[in-house]
Amino acid sequence: MASLHQTNKFYLLFRKDLALFFDTFVSLSSAFGFAFLSVLVATFTLGAVILPEHDRVILAHAANWLCFVFSVVYIFTKTIEAERLHEALDMILLSRISPATFYFAKWLSTTLVVWLMQILICLLFEIFFAANFLKNIFPLALVFLLSSSAITSTGILFSAMSSYLRNKEISLPIIIFPLSIPVLFSGVELSMSLSIYQNLDVFWLSVLLAINAISLSVSWLLFERVVRG
């Protein structure tokens, strides 16, 4: 590993992370199962209320983001667990891979998985809630990508942190939920502006981009401190 260029190391780590998600399929299917159940609960509770088309779509957006954040936390609890359980994280850090390379590979792979999960949740809402999401699926996918990236950038950092804590199952949501609210706020505003006005609100798009830039750079700067302890 020592002789490899950082880009190759990044690519190998990225592939390893994707393989961890897709080969075993355990964490991915569990996250999807959890998301599916939360969509069903949302459909049962909210779908029973007879609402005008406009209100139903707004409600669907809010419920969509709610289901997303619950399933995302489940993905984060698993994302660094494999490395921690088998002490692979120490080995990786010993093999001259910089923590920054490890962080960015983890961020990219987890962002893709989280993004995929959000699109699946969106499709579930389309089926069960008649939410009319497919009409704007491409700009919506861009919003999902940006929000996935923002939430994952801090999610990886706090997932690494909580893996060292005694009550990690409860610690991660308690830390992640408050920090994810600005992302959710701008995500909900953007997706609703797409549904109502058929275009992306430039203000909230810049807020989401700013959150991405700040959270990614701060998390990258602090990641080494967290994993080296």
Binding site: T154, L157, M161, Y164, L165, R166, N167, S171, I174, I175, F177, P178, L179, I181, P182, F185, F203, I214, V218, L222, R225, V226, G229
Partner: protein
Amino acid sequence: MHINALENIIYKSTAKSILAWFVFLLLTASNYFVFIVTPEEQVMGAVQKVFYFHVGSAIVSYVLIAILFVASVFYLISRRAAWNYLADASSSVGLLFCSIVLITGMIWGKSAWNTWWRWEPRLVSFLVLWAVLFSHRFLSWQRASAVFSAVLGIFAALNVPIVVFSVKFLNQSEQLHPQVVAQQGLRSEWYVFTLLFCTISLIIFAFLLMMLKTKVILLSSKYKELSRNYG
């Protein structure tokens, strides 16, 4: 900052007693100015009095989070325990003052808007700040590594600009939170004086609370060290 320097400040009991009596006098005087001297606001009536403690506590919260940020950064750079104790104390007292801001805001909101809570930018962003400070305390209760607390302390401080500028996110007509100071809504000189006096009193009060909390943290860390050595 070295731990001995921190101990020198914290353990000086005479200075602390004088400060405690000074704080007592300041807070009594603040109440006197708020409830006796300052004229009652014409529209809101007596409920407007909560404004002095609400704004004062909000400013104290920002000051404490600034201390949390500085102490967290310096801890990550130097790894000196004194910075961690300072960060721990500031987040603890900061959470208390954030709670006061939320509670006094709700009391004001019930009177002004006829509801305890409205989902508008300033209120939501401040609630997020409170929640991040709560998670910082949660890490401390979990006896998490000081590095983790410092990292979360930095993220808590990143929320402060969001809270401060949240009122700019929407047009003034679309939000309910008043911008009294920015819009020069304090028409009487007494309003301005009382607000300043209350804020300064609360800052000194928070400083005293931080000293006491730091003493508790220092004593508990010494107790743990002794238990490890002789237990």
